[in-house]
Amino acid sequence: MKFFEDIQVGDVFDYGRYTFTADNIKAFAVRYDPQAFHVDEAAGERSHFGALVASGWHTAVTWMRLMIDYRRRMDEAILARGEPVAGIGPALGFRDLTWPTPVYVGDTVAYRSDVVELRLSNSRPQSGLMTFRSTGVNQHGKPVLSLVSTTFVERREKPP
């Protein structure tokens, strides 16, 4: 990760895209969220969704995976320049998570985060706190996921 001092409010992290298929929707749902409209096409058609839909948790953990992969690529690029990487985490939780549009078979979701607030931490003065809104948008431009999270990011300049 970049150091806290090198992050600005308004910075965007672009995580890339993921395509949801009947197979990956059901493979997730049978393990963690086996509601009928997440595991069975016919049940999905009978439901108010009108078709098989991804579990909202699947939509969310896919964001997490793409974010971790993005951060790893960022760290590798920083290390390749011979510079130090900043530690990040832990996150304490999240808030205001919404699933405004269902995710259907064949949908491709683009994920990103926008930095919305930066402040110093009283409890961990060696870190700052970064608050960011993360979103997933489908191929029609419709939002399918939004959440706000706060995490610790290491400061370059540590207080004495």
């Binding site: 985490g89 832990p90 808030r95």
Partner: protein
């Protein structure tokens, strides 16, 4: 027909679901698939992090909570999904070998204004260990079908 409808969840009602024993293998497998960070994958790397040892991904805890309540009541209900999660707090690490339960409290209940066949129920869920310690709290609203849809007015 589902057994449980929106009318069956009255504010103040408390229920406990589970238990489920969370193994090291599933903590590592979930992390490898969805949250591959050192503190969820490897004891030695985890001991050097702020988590102070191997612990489950917070997202894994959320998914385990979902599965426990699914088996506990959601699959027997008229669930229509959820518009989202107001808040999740990861308060204590979930360590390998911990047996967890989910304590559910109904916070609010209201009919949907736009859909007479549906009601909205706000729950607080707490993931608790055998000592009663709260590991994670979640506040979320569920969409539930009504047993008796409100007559159109």
């Amino acid at each position: 027909m589902p057994k449980l409808h929106w009318e069956d969840f009255q504010p103040g009602a408390v229920a406990v679901y589970g238990p489920r024993l969370v193994t090291r293998e599933e903590i590592v497998a979930f992390a490898a698939e969805f949250d591959p960070q050192p503190m969820h994958l490897d004891e030695v790397a985890a001991s050097a992090t702020l988590l102070g040892g191997l612990g489950a991904s917070g997202w894994h805890i959320c998914c385990l909570l979902m599965r426990i309540i699914a088996d506990g009541f959601v699959l027997d209900s008229s669930s229509m999904g959820s518009p989202g999660i107001e808040e999740v707090r990861w308060q204590k690490p979930l360590r390998p070998g911990t047996q967890i339960r989910v304590r559910s409290t109904v916070l609010e209940s209201r009919p949907s204004k736009s859909r007479p066949e549906m009601g909205l129920t706000k729950f607080r869920y707490e993931v608790i260990d055998d000592a009663g310690g709260v590991l994670t709290t979640m506040v979320t609203t569920a969409m539930l079908g009504r047993r008796k849809p409100e007559a159109a007015s």
